[in-house]
Symmetry: C2
Subunit: 164 residues, 2 copies
Amino acid sequence: MKDVDYMAVAETAMAQIQQGAFLTVKAGDRLNTMTIGWATIGYCWKKPIFMVAVRDSRHTFTIIEDAADFTVSVPSGDMKKEVLFCGTKSGRDMDKFAQCDLKTIPGRKVASPIIDLPGIHFECRIVYKSAMDPARLTPDYEPIYPAKDYHTLYFGEILDCYEI
Amino acid sequence: MKDVDYMAVAETAMAQIQQGAFLTVKAGDRLNTMTIGWATIGYCWKKPIFMVAVRDSRHTFTIIEDAADFTVSVPSGDMKKEVLFCGTKSGRDMDKFAQCDLKTIPGRKVASPIIDLPGIHFECRIVYKSAMDPARLTPDYEPIYPAKDYHTLYFGEILDCYEI
């Protein structure tokens, strides 16, 4: 593992996240991973901040709502198959780790593990969250929510950022 | 003006924003600029997104609440004096542009102008906003808000990004 500066890798990470990255969350003995394609990275509340969005219809939502932290594992290699699987199948119905042969590695700073893959890994503790209020969303973004399953925005303080 | 990719300049921009950048907002004939030190940049709702935070005690808050857009002007040169002034004085009491000899340039895509300075400029239309709910904030961040003047988070779709 090689420590990296979170903003130095932001461009590379954001380009890959748009192709699919893994949001992994553990709360108690409940663990799941899901594909994300969106994120924002920056500095807020005097801390490095990573924002992810989870729809309230997601199995991951039921876990992250009880979790203190999350990790984001951004693959540098081709993981199209796993990204597609974890973005379309629900952890309610199966063990995605077993189905995709995804191994985890314990987080260095948080309870949620990372996915054992070559790439950039962010370990974040949840410092703020906000369920989206559709009344505040521009109407032209509404087609993103045909089922009205709006996102909750989770702001994680980046406690660790490294490559493996 | 030279068009640049918003993520390609994100590392440089975030480093400078932490030293102070200008958030400029126009609503009708009301115009103000203020210093920001925080922001997040990324991709959400299938769009490039720039998030800024404005405390509800700010004069800028009264303008941005009625605005459709904002700009962020990130100086590449030394503007410590202007950054300090615009971060500590209120546009309620004076014309900051005149006081700091800051000139504006009309936005290319938005009603809010940019500050005429060498650096990176973001033009953003407000697509979502969320007043912070203190109940959702980690208690150890509470000292940021001794006056309980919490931020509203403004999410801007980046319509233009360029250097001058």
